[in-house]
Amino acid sequence: MMPHGRVQSPKSEVRGGLLRTTDYGLRTTKCGLTLVELVLTVGLAGILGIPTGLLLSEHLRAAVTSRDSTVAMGLARAETEQLDSLNNFFALPLGTVTIANYQGYPYNLTRTITCQAGNCTSGSSNSQGVKRIVVTVTKAGSTAPLARMTTYRTKHVLFGL
């Protein structure tokens, strides 16, 4: 019997008084992978495929994270600028507000307004106040912040005087 994978020249041999001729052309039709070879092949393919898959997966995750950061930063800036454009210090109530699916995006926006200094509730022109506004954007279902922005609003503060 010819070992698999080894090239031999055709030969004749005498067995049991009969002349048997090994026809390699016919035998090649029976050649194929044994179970062990097949398992080895699958194993090797797996060994090569798994790191490639992991690499691709990480790359894909990085691309998605990058997109999330871009979108979240835009949304955080949109909210910050929106608060900045309101011409009323008192239109920004103290406290924390969370807006789910901000502007239809699958992100949650949390706005926290605290009184950083002075009196933030008195309307008297003699009463100065500084509000600290923190805007945080997270992906829906996650608590890890994708973007965070901080700004300040003042009332009755004369800068540089």
Partner: protein, 223 residues
Amino acid sequence: MRRLRRSSVGLTLVELAVVISVSGILFVATPPLVLQGVHTFVFLPRAQAANQVAMEILHAAMEGSHSTLSGLGGQTIRGLRFAVRQPSPAQPAIWLAENERIGFLIPHNPSITTDNQYVVLRLDGQQLKRSVYLTNACPPASLPSEEEILPYYAAGRIRVTTPNPPLFRYYNQSGALLSPPICSGTSAIRRVEMAFVAQTGGGDFSQGDAQVKVTSSVAIRFP
């Protein structure tokens, strides 16, 4: 007979069943994985490009960017954040406000140009274009002779679309949405919101395409 059985090379029934099972699993599982891998390989650079272009467009519109316009080549055209009204003669910071076009005034800055810049951003087809006008006649009489695509390297590669809402939305100092005051009443605009989708091809992942939808806004300091 025994000799005959020895010479017959083949698989037992169990081996055959295992081979068929393994082959079946491979045939079923491999093509989708390979296809998904190919899509991902094609998708990734496109996703990065779409993301990059979206960021560049936002930055150019809000903050400004270098220009490739002849006469301004290499100089910076500032963005909406630097739009400021002019008291004499009275000119609003935003002098043209449409759904897909905005014109704003960048005052005289000796280090950049000798005249006021009347900058216009508009969506032309599926590209965002920027130009500089000589006057703030509203509506503009005609397009300037030259426009530049933002960003310049995105030409033909990344499409900019505005499914909903429109590219530009305008708000007053109370945060109320204004229906586009085309020419008059633009001095009430205290904030401009910008939303668009940057995409390659149809933006469909199954085709290896990518898309990113972004929204941002900028407060107009002195409308």
